[in-house]
C-alpha cells in the first residue's frame, strides 16, 4: 500500500501579471516524511509554499492539503485546516507587540479552553523544546537574536501540536552548530509527534542528512522529485550545478558512495 498523501500539488500555474512563475507544477508529500523544496533563488519556492498555506491562490491547478482542496474551500473548512498546521516564516514573523510567551500562547488562548495554568505550562514546554532558555519567554521579538527568533517562531508554530509543519528556510542565518541542532530537533519532532514536515531549504547539510524526499523547482517546473538517489540521477543543469560541483562532491557525495559500498 502506498503511503497516505498529505499534500498533493497538481498542474499548478502561477502568474503575476505577465510573468509566469510556475507552469504546471506537480508534487506530493507523504505522511510522516520530511520533504524538501529546492531550487534557485526566485524559482518560486516561497510562492508555492504560500499557495499551500492559502496566502496566495494559484492561477490554475489544484492543491490538496490534509484532504482539503485549498483552491476551493469554504471559510469554515479553511479555519479548521489552519489549526492543523504550523508555519515558520523565513524571517520569523513573530508578533512584535507580544512577548515570546504571548506569541506562543495566542492560538491556545483563541482556540482552546485550557486553563491559564495549563497554557503557561505548555508554553514553557515549547520554549524548552526548541532549546531556548526559560527567561526568553518574557522578552519581546526585538530583543532576540536571529537564531533565537527562528527558535521562538518554531515554538509558536508547534503551539497547537500541528500534524503538518511548513518551514521556509529554517536553518538560513543560523550558525552551523545551531543549524544542526535545528535539524536534529525537526527529526525528533517527526519521530515523537509523527508530524509531516515541508521545508524550503538551500542547506546541503539538511538535504543530505534529514530530508527524506524532495522536489527541485527549476524552469517553472518540478524537474525532479524523489529521494536523494533519484534526484542525483537527474542531469538538469541546476541539479548538476547544485549537487555535482567540486565542493559538494568532496564534502558529501564521496561520503554517500562510501556508505553505499558498505
Amino acid at each position: 500500500m502506498s503511503p497516505k498523501r498529505v499534500i498533493e500539488v497538481k498542474d499548478v500555474v502561477t502568474r503575476f501579471g505577465e510573468r509566469t512563475i510556475h507552469d504546471g507544477v506537480n508534487l506530493h508529500v507523504n505522511e510522516h516524511e520530511i520533504y524538501g523544496i529546492l531550487g534557485e533563488s526566485g524559482s518560486g519556492k516561497s510562492v508555492l509554499m504560500k499557495e499551500m498555506i492559502m496566502l496566495l491562490r494559484p492561477t490554475a491547478g489544484k492543491i490538496t492539503v490534509l484532504g482539503y482542496d485549498v483552491t476551493d474551500i469554504s471559510y469554515e473548512e479553511a479555519q479548521e485546516l489552519r489549526r492543523e498546521w504550523g508555519v515558520l516564516f523565513q524571517f520569523g514573523a513573530l508578533y512584535s507587540s507580544l512577548t515570546v510567551a504571548e506569541n506562543i500562547e495566542l492560538q491556545l488562548k483563541e482556540y482552546t479552553d485550557l486553563s491559564k495554568q495549563l497554557r503557561e505550562e505548555l508554553v514553557r514546554t515549547k520554549i524548552a523544546m526548541v532549546g531556548l532558555a526559560p527567561h526568553v519567554g518574557a522578552l519581546y521579538p526585538s530583543e532576540l537574536s536571529g537564531g533565537m527568533i527562528k527558535r521562538a517562531a518554531l515554538a509558536r508554530a508547534l503551539a497547537m501540536d500541528p500534524k503538518l509543519l511548513f518551514l521556509d528556510e529554517p536553518t538560513s542565518g543560523l550558525d552551523p552548530v545551531g543549524a544542526r541542532n535545528f535539524d536534529k530537533l525537526i527529526v525528533e519532532l517527526r519521530e515523537l509527534l509523527g508530524i509531516t514536515v515541508v521545508m524550503i531549504t538551500h542547506d546541503l547539510d539538511s538535504i543530505f542528512s534529514i530530508v527524506d524526499r524532495m522536489a527541485v523547482l527549476a524552469d517553472k517546473h518540478v524537474v525532479v522529485e524523489g529521494d536523494l538517489k533519484n534526484v542525483l540521477q537527474s542531469t538538469h543543469p541546476f541539479v548538476e550545478a547544485f549537487f555535482k560541483n567540486e565542493y559538494t562532491q568532496e564534502k558529501y557525495l564521496g561520503k554517500i558512495k562510501a556508505e553505499n559500498v558498505q
Binding site: 492559502m54 489552519r82 516564516f89 514573523a93 508578533y95 512584535s96 492560538q107 482556540y111
Partner: protein, 367 residues
C-alpha cells in the same frame, strides 16, 4: 603639465603619458580633470609603471580614457605589472554596456497615474467589501468580536487625544470669537457673538476640527502599524493561524473610532464654546453668565445633533482609509512613509468633502 599623478612629455611624433602615485577612488576625480586635457593629435605612449597604488576606480578610469584615446589615435600602454593586468581583465570582463535610462513620455506617466488611481479605487472597494463581510459575520456571531483590542484603541485614539483636541478646539473657539467680535462691535450687535460661536462650533467646526486632528493622529498611526505588520509578515502569519486580519486589526479600529470620535466631538464642542466665551469676555466684556443665558436661547439642540451625526461618518472614513492604506504597504520601508502620507491626505480630503456633502443635504432639507 605636471602633477603627482600624471605627467606628459611632448615629443615630435608622440606624446608620452606617465601615470604615477596613487590611482584610487580618492584621487580619481583630480586625475580625470588632468586626463580631459590630454591632446589626442599624436600617437600616445602610456607608461603606467609609476603607479604605486591602484583600486578598481583607478583602473576603470584608465580603461575609460584608454578607450577614448583609442578612438582618436593610436595608444600603446607600457610598463604594466601582472597585477594591474589581472585587475584590468577582471574589470573589462565585468563591464556591461551602459543602457541609456528609459525615458518616460508625459502621456505614459499620465496613463500610469490614472491606472494607479483606478486600481487604488478598486482595491478600496475590495477592502470595504471584506470589512463588511467580517462585520456581518461578527454581528451574527458576537463572540468573535475583539473587545479587548477595541477598548485598547478607544483608549489610544480617544482618551489619549483629549488634550490635543481640547487645546485645538479652545483656540479655534477663541479665534472665531475674536474675529466675530471685531465685526459685530461695528454694529453694536455684541451679543450675537454667542450665536456665531455656538452654532458654528457645534454644527461645523467641532466635528471638523476633531476629525482632522484624529485623521492626522490616529489615521496615520493605523496605516503605520498595519503597514509595519505587513512588512514583517505578521499579517501573513495571522492568516495562516486562522486569525482574520479584518477581524483582528480592522474592525476594532473602526468600531473604536466610531465610538471615540463622537465623544471627542462632544468634548470639542464644550471646550470650543468655552474658548469663545473667554474671548468674548476679554474683547466684548460679555460675562460668562450673559453668554450662557444667551446660549440657552439661541443654540437649538438640532445644531448639536446635526454636528454629532457627522461623527460616526468621519470616524468610519478615517479608520477605513487608515487601515486600507496600511494593507497597501508593499515590501519596502519607503512605502510605509508614502502610504502614511496618502492616508492622512486622503482622509482629511474626504472628511472635508463629506462635510460639504452634509452641508448640501442639511440645506436642501431646510435644517
Amino acid at each position: 603639465m605636471n602633477s603627482a599623478y600624471l605627467l606628459y612629455e611632448d615629443h615630435e611624433q608622440y606624446l608620452k603619458l606617465i601615470s604615477k602615485g596613487e590611482w584610487t577612488i580618492k584621487t580619481v576625480p583630480q586625475i580625470e580633470k588632468l586626463l580631459q586635457k590630454v591632446p589626442t593629435d599624436r600617437k600616445i605612449i602610456w607608461d603606467v609603471s609609476g603607479v604605486k597604488l591602484f583600486d578598481s576606480a583607478g583602473v576603470l578610469l584608465f580603461i575609460e580614457y584608454l578607450e577614448r584615446f583609442q578612438k582618436h589615435t593610436e595608444v600603446k600602454v607600457v610598463g604594466y605589472t601582472p597585477k594591474q593586468q589581472e585587475m584590468y581583465n577582471l574589470l573589462v570582463k565585468s563591464m556591461h554596456e551602459s543602457v541609456p535610462p528609459r525615458e518616460e513620455h508625459f502621456l505614459e506617466s499620465l496613463g500610469k497615474k490614472v491606472v494607479g488611481l483606478y486600481s487604488d479605487f478598486r482595491d478600496f472597494l475590495t477592502f470595504l467589501g471584506e470589512t463588511m463581510i467580517t462585520a456581518f459575520h461578527v454581528i451574527t456571531h458576537p463572540r468573535f468580536f475583539r473587545l479587548k483590542e477595541t477598548v485598547y484603541h478607544i483608549y489610544q485614539s480617544g482618551f489619549s487625544a483629549l488634550m490635543i483636541i481640547g487645546l485645538t478646539a479652545f483656540l479655534v473657539g477663541m479665534v472665531i470669537a475674536y474675529q466675530g467680535a471685531v465685526q459685530l462691535a461695528k454694529f453694536g450687535a455684541d451679543i450675537f457673538i454667542v450665536d456665531t460661536v455656538g452654532i458654528s462650533i457645534t454644527r461645523e467646526l467641532g466635528p471638523m476640527i476633531t476629525a482632522i486632528v484624529i485623521a492626522g493622529r490616529s489615521g496615520s498611526a493605523y496605516t503605520a502599524e498595519i503597514g509595519a505588520m505587513k512588512i514583517t509578515e505578521e499579517i501573513a502569519a495571522m492568516r495562516t493561524m486562522g486569525f482574520d486580519p479584518y477581524n483582528f486589526l480592522v474592525l476594532p479600529r473602526i468600531v473604536a473610532l466610531i465610538i471615540a470620535l463622537p465623544i471627542l466631538i462632544f468634548f470639542a464642542d464644550i471646550v470650543g464654546i468655552f474658548g469663545g466665551m473667554v474671548a468674548s469676555g476679554l474683547q466684548l466684556h460679555i460675562t460668562f453668565g450673559m453668554f450662557v443665558d444667551r446660549l440657552y436661547e439661541v443654540l437649538e439642540v438640532k445644531h448639536y445633533i446635526l454636528g454629532m451625526i457627522k461623527g460616526p461618518v468621519f470616524a468610519f472614513v478615517i479608520a477605513a482609509i487608515g487601515c486600507f492604506r496600511g494593507f497597501k504597504v508593499s515590501d519596502n520601508t519607503e512605502s510605509i512613509g508614502l502610504q502614511t502620507t496618502a492616508s492622512v491626505v486622503n482622509s482629511i480630503f474626504l472628511v472635508i468633502a463629506f462635510d460639504a456633502l452634509f452641508s448640501v443635504i442639511y440645506t436642501e432639507l431646510g435644517l
